[in-house]
């Protein structure tokens, strides 16, 4: 709650950066410039941003297939990210990982992940290491409503709560697991209800309100840092696009889509910033334009970067 003007403008800039990055991907994917699958974070920007605004570089996150937002929010470098999406040597993973596996271990980003639900045990392990080393760091596992049906969710929450690990299980409930609405894949509506089964607190917040996310994640992260163990935080949100680029999302009711577009987290924050006189419209326009320029530059960097040498195929399989 103690968000100062500068912090809030920072948060705004991060959210705009994610939006600009993802919007650019829509464009270049449609133009056939990038291969593979891309799952975009458009509409969910408030979650990653609100959570990561509470984290330090030493803290860990485990991300998902829908990972670009988490990476940017945790401080990922736009050029290295974009180059990875383009499969270039200058990418975060030298072009070996692609969108679904971008990582920056130095920033505590333990990778996007192609396996739904795989991040929770990994974050649990990172939290174990933090506790073991007693370095005051924490871990956050991002995962979706669909992922909360994986065995890994249940095993990770059980272990982390039993061992009282400094980890936050951060559910991005966007109401869908590909074509399955939440109603059709689980018998509950508030995933935070599952916390009580593991003896930990669970809370649900409006995931399209970055301040609400910041507060709830902040309280959970503080609990973790103080040694009070894990927390399950559910952020209710909505993905604007299909599951991946190329999925028209025909299963969504257009009425729901329309309602959720009205709750778009970015205009919501803008309204607050203007009302508080933290910015005038021209300031916001400038921030947006700046982030778009950053993304253009990242694309230029990516496109002008070299493709990997085929011999790269054989490196990095084992540590030497």
């Amino acid at each position: 709650m103690d968000l100062k003007k500068e912090q809030l403008l920072d948060i705004y800039k991060k959210m705009c950066t994610i939006r600009a990055f993802e919007s650019k991907i829509v464009e270049i994917f449609a133009a056939g410039k990038i291969p593979g699958f891309v799952h975009l974070y458009l509409g969910e920007e408030a979650v990653a941003t609100g959570v990561c605004a509470n984290l330090e570089t030493k803290d860990f996150i485990a991300s998902t297939h829908r990972g670009h937002g988490h990476l940017i929010a945790k401080g990922g470098d736009l050029k290295s990210m974009m180059a990875e999406v383009f499969g270039r040597t200058t990418g975060y993973c030298k072009g070996k990982g692609g969108s679904m596996h971008i990582a920056d271990v130095d920033l505590g980003i333990l990778g996007a992940n192609g396996i739904v639900g795989a991040g929770m045990p990994i974050a649990t392990g990172a939290a174990f290491a933090c506790k073991y080393k007693n370095n005051g760091a924490v871990a956050v596992a991002f995962f979706g409503d669909g992922a909360s049906d994986r065995a890994t969710f249940h095993e990770a929450l059980n272990l982390a709560s039993t061992w009282k690990l400094p980890v936050v299980f951060l559910c991005e409930n966007n109401g869908w697991a590909i074509s399955n609405s939440q109603k059709t894949h689980q018998n509950i509506t508030d995933i935070s209800d599952r916390a009580s089964g593991y003896g930990i607190p669970g809370v649900s917040v409006d995931g399209n309100d970055v301040i609400a996310v910041y507060e709830a994640a902040g309280a959970a992260i503080e609990r973790a840092r103080k040694g009070d163990g894990p927390t399950l935080v559910e952020c209710k949100t909505w993905r604007h696009r299909g599951h991946f680029e190329g999925d028209p999302g025909a299963y969504k009711d257009p009425k729901d889509q329309e309602e959720w577009l009205k709750k778009d987290p970015i205009p919501r924050l803008e309204k607050n910033l203007l009302k508080l006189n933290y910015a005038v419209q021209a300031d916001l326009d400038k921030i947006k334009a700046d982030t778009e320029a950053d993304i253009e530059e990242a694309v230029k960097f990516a496109e002008s970067s070299p493709l990997p040498d085929p011999q790269e195929l054989f490196t990095d399989v084992y540590a030497d």
């Binding site: 709650m1 609400a212 607050n272």
Partner: protein, 343 residues
């Protein structure tokens, strides 16, 4: 034909007070259980129709489904005529629909916040509020079966004053125009955002206006309770300015969270009296939740009235009803026997 409404809020009991204090985790399955008990009780009263608020979890339909195999409920259970939005507005919409449908009593499951939304639209329909929220003053800790029996008695016309009584409220005015209301407390916060809604940090509180306050309340109204208690039926309220002053006291602001409070000044309010002059930017919390953002250049005031919802006290209601033969004699037994046969 006697009918009862049920407004069960699936979102209550899950807010951030579980992290920053020790709020009860109230999962929706337990709300389903409570509704089951209410329905089983209502079935033995003279009530024949239950109207419920649709919600995204389906609390009432799940309760009905859970009972269907083992019990034959001689109740007509129907959804309120409204469009579900999945937000707190639903509670107000449901109350409106029930008011218009001539319901005899509304059972609510939720906290102060839920009841506040219901109170906006329920008119003269008495409420029987069951507590499922976190820091509640308005609803009571009442067992579901008893709540059902009491609501049935109210709907059948077996209870009146003082078992069913009018409550106070605070009208919130922005630049002179009413914009919202509170049942228990309106709080002026130094915050600028609504954010995660709940309040728990006394350092952010500037001013408190209450309709009542007892030392055994939890939440902001406990400040009044520990200063100068005001009862539910007393024709007065209180305004308190927080800040450096002569009075310091302790108050349980949230479950497990007893905080030191510095009172700069306080004032007993008469019915109809207005407190003016709070200038934005600030946020107003109503009944424990940040609700109204007040921008720069805007001004808010608060007015105490005795025009809050009518509320049924289950113990007093049942006493009155028992005195009228509610639980004895042929009528009561006939119903029970019939139910037994049907099952």
């Amino acid at each position: 034909m006697a009918s009862v409404g049920i407004i069960a809020n699936p979102a209550s009991g899950k807010d951030i007070r579980r992290l920053v204090a020790y709020g009860i985790c109230f999962d929706n399955l337990e709300k389903v259980n409570i509704v089951k008990r209410c329905l089983l009780a209502l079935a033995v009263t003279g009530v024949d129709r239950v109207v419920y608020m649709p919600d995204y979890y389906g609390i009432v339909p799940r309760a009905v489904e859970g009972l269907a195999k083992a019990h034959h409920l001689s109740l007509d259970i129907v959804e309120a005529d409204m469009e579900m939005t999945g937000t707190q507005i639903d509670s107000a919409q449901a109350a409106l629909a029930m008011n218009q449908a001539g319901i005899g009593c509304i059972i609510t499951l939720g906290g102060d916040g839920t009841n506040r939304m219901v109170a906006k639209n329920c008119g003269d329909v008495p409420l029987l509020p069951i507590s499922t929220g976190t820091n509640n003053v308005f609803p009571q800790m009442v067992e579901g079966t008893i709540a059902g029996l009491a609501a049935g008695a109210v709907a059948c016309g077996l209870a009146d004053f003082p078992a069913v009584h009018r409550t106070k409220k605070i009208v919130v005015l922005k630049n002179g125009k009413p914009v919202d209301m509170a049942l228990i407390d309106a709080v002026v916060l130094k915050d600028i955002f609504i954010g995660s809604r709940a309040i728990w940090d006394e350092e952010r509180i500037r001013k408190v206006v209450v309709t009542r306050g007892e030392p055994d309340n939890i939440g902001i109204s406990s400040i009044a309770g520990n200063l100068h208690p005001i009862g539910i039926t007393e024709s007065k309220g209180m305004a308190i300015d927080l800040g450096p002053g002569n009075i310091s006291l302790m108050a349980p602001l949230a479950p497990g969270l007893i905080r030191p409070i510095q009172v700069a000044a306080y004032k007993i309010l008469e019915i109809g009296e207005e407190i003016n002059g709070e200038k934005g930017p600030l946020v107003i919390a109503l009944d424990g939740e940040r609700e109204v953002e007040v921008g720069e250049g805007e001004e808010v005031s608060f007015q105490l009235t005795f025009e809050g919802p009518r509320v049924a006290d289950p113990r007093l209601v049942l006493r009155q009803a028992v005195a009228k033969g509610y639980s004895q004699g042929e009528q009561a037994m006939k119903k029970l026997h019939r139910l037994k046969e049907e099952n």
